[in-house]
């Protein structure tokens, strides 16, 4: 078939089940995913539409003749006839290659999504800092991520939906809203620490520490004393009583509080002597919002990897 310069040969998304071989001339292909300023060039000898012919997949590109050109078209009928006269093992190899491509495509899709998450959290945190409210435009987030990491908008939306399922944020129209401004930066930092330091982040707490913090939060919420500079203070006596209640008879000791104090999540009213009884300390205090964020992080983090590849 001959085409004149400027003529359209096929459109992205067409279902034509055919293969084009460029015999002479040059074609250029554009698609909605690519950069319109940098079309893909197909010169003489190029083969276009393998998936369209073998799998009846929609056309990946809109093709246009850049100059007068000649194209050989192979359709489904040609393929069937050729395969009929070929040995069966050749069909097996072609089927294997197609199947393997699907697997590698799926693996690439998952890998891209996993890889895009830290950047999404990083850019989200950055955009959040530029705003006074707790909402980020999804379109803007996708634009900035495309610039930084080549992430596509569809992937951004998929990741945001996964984060919404984990109750990290809420999607409302074109905005992603967070309840806490610190949770997403905290999540990013925890991922960064795991990846670059090859260690568990200090933000990831033991079950005992998480339970102790839950007790602390429960008592803070029950307390009638207002927060001072966001800090909540709970007496050791109340902590002891509630620990016994909530943690099935566990006795609060200095040792129970040691890690939380060392990591500066909770602070004692007086210097904690790790060998002395817990009653030496009158009360413990901590940043209410930070503790809430840490508890949320510890709820989300173990679920994150599985959720990403679901």
């Amino acid at each position: 078939m001959k085409f004149s310069a400027g003529e359209f040969i096929c459109l992205e998304g067409d279902l034509s089940s055919s293969l084009y071989i460029v015999k002479s001339g040059t074609l250029y292909g554009t698609n909605t995913k690519g950069n319109p300023a940098k079309p893909k060039i197909f010169e003489a000898g190029s083969v276009i539409g393998v998936s369209s012919l073998l799998e009846n997949a929609p056309w990946e590109y809109t093709l246009r003749a850049q100059e007068d050109c000649e194209i050989e078209v192979v359709n489904r009928e040609n393929l069937d006839k050729t395969l009929e006269s070929s040995p069966t093992w050749l069909n097996s190899i072609i089927s294997f290659l197609i199947k393997r491509n699907h697997v590698s495509e799926e693996n690439k899709r998952k890998s891209d999504l996993v890889q895009a998450l830290p950047s999404l959290l990083y850019v989200f945190s950055g955009l959040l800092k530029e705003r006074t409210d707790n909402a980020v435009s999804i379109t803007l987030l996708a634009e900035r991520l495309a610039l930084m990491n080549g992430t596509q908008e569809e992937e951004v939306r998929r990741l945001l939906r996964k984060l919404q399922d984990l109750k990290v944020l809420k999607i409302q129209g074109d905005t992603a809203q967070v309840q806490s401004r610190e949770l997403i930066p905290l999540l990013y930092e925890t991922l960064r620490f795991r990846a670059l330091e090859h260690k568990v982040s200090p933000n990831i707490l033991s079950m005992t520490d998480q339970m102790m913090l839950s007790v602390f939060i429960k008592l803070s919420q029950r307390s009638k004393d207002p927060l001072r500079n966001g800090l909540s203070a709970i007496s050791t006596a109340d902590l002891k009583a509630e620990t016994k209640n909530s943690m099935h008879g566990v006795t609060l000791t200095t040792r129970t509080m040691a890690a939380l104090v060392e990591n500066k999540i909770l602070e004692p009213s007086t210097t904690l002597d790790f060998h002395a009884p817990i009653d030496q300390v009158e009360f413990f205090f901590g940043d209410f919002d930070r503790i809430m964020d840490l508890l949320e992080l510890n709820r989300i983090f173990p679920l994150l990897d599985k959720k990403l590849v679901e």
Binding site: V47, S92, S111, D112, S119, A146, M148, R192, L196
Partner: protein, 304 residues
């Protein structure tokens, strides 16, 4: 029958029956081949460990060795029969003879399918964006103003996010420093990087992005009169509201002759927002953005 035309000579695949335990191929076998299991069972094992570690099992219809034969990859395992099995072995010669008889377009399809898979695997290790300088500028625009970041760990963090090779990222960092968007500083014995005005990096990203799209960047296209109007606008409060003729008159009073085309262009660029019908007030953020671009034009263009 040999015809003398190599295109017509077909070397058939070998069909054999093997007993349980027979090693169909070994990972150090120099001969490349595709093994198709017709009947029975095969398993792939890693013989480099003791005891042998089973990697996977094959069922009738399964095949292995495509990557080895078509893409020259080496076998990473041994393949042995778990029971009496019928197998078809497609050797390199057999494949070559069949490919020679295949129409060229089908050969191209097989190559394309094989190439797509290799390409995808390679892409999984490569950065997804084309312009790594733009990417690093976007990353750096979220750095805290005036905070020193150790270069090594910052680069490591950026490369982890983007898969950009460390050497390329360091080159890009130097390019941003040359343009004075970032500054390298020694803090004790650690080389750190500081962003004095992260807003400039955002501007640079926008500039590079329009360039990548083959479009001109509007802040650097302003005429002299439009630039003068912009400077004047930066001194006017956002609460000032006038209709278009009054704005034009105000500019004229200040010696700036703006045409209606200039006015429409400035409206299009978002220098003004429409308050009510035909009344407009300036948008300070937009005006500042353009002014900053003009002030740092040389840095943006990289012709310091």
């Amino acid at each position: 029958m040999t015809t003398g035309d190599s295109r017509k000579t077909i070397i058939p695949p070998v069909r054999i029956t093997v007993k349980a335990g027979f090693v169909v191929f070994s990972h150090n076998d120099p001969e490349r081949k595709i093994v198709i299991l017709e009947k029975g069972g095969l398993r792939a094992v890693d013989s480099s460990v003791t005891p042998k570690k089973e990697l996977f099992r094959m069922r009738p219809g399964d095949l292995v060795g495509v990557a080895a034969l078509l893409e020259g990859e080496s076998f990473r395992y041994d393949l042995e029969a778990t029971e009496i099995s019928d197998i078809t072995i497609v050797s390199e010669d057999c494949m070559e003879s069949e490919l020679k008889n295949m129409p060229l377009w089908l050969l191209a399809c097989v190559r394309e399918l094989s190439g797509q898979n290799r390409q995808r695997r390679e892409n999984m290790r490569k950065p997804r964006m084309e312009n790594s300088l733009k990417s690093l500028a976007e990353f750096s625009r979220f750095l805290k103003k005036e905070k020193p970041y150790p270069v090594e760990s910052l680069i490591q963090e950026y490369c982890w996010q983007t898969r950009v090779p460390v050497a390329a990222a360091k080159e890009d960092l130097k390019a941003l420093c040359r343009r004075k968007f970032l500054e390298l500083q020694k803090q004790d014995d650690t080389l750190c990087v500081v962003a004095h005005d992260p807003e400039l990096l955002k501007l640079f990203v926008d500039y590079l992005d329009t360039q990548d799209q083959g479009k001109p960047w509007e802040p650097l296209r302003l005429s002299l009169n439009q630039k003068k109007a912009l400077v004047t606008l930066s001194t006017i409060k956002a609460s000032e509201v006038k209709d278009a003729p009054s704005w034009l008159a105000m500019f004229q009073k200040k010696g700036i002759d703006l045409t209606v085309a200039d006015w429409i262009y400035m409206l299009g660029q978002g220098f003004f927002t429409e308050k009510d019908e035909s009344h407009f007030s300036p948008v300070p953020e937009k005006v500042q953005y353009f002014l900053l671009a003009l002030r740092y034009e040389i840095n943006l263009r990289g012709v310091l």
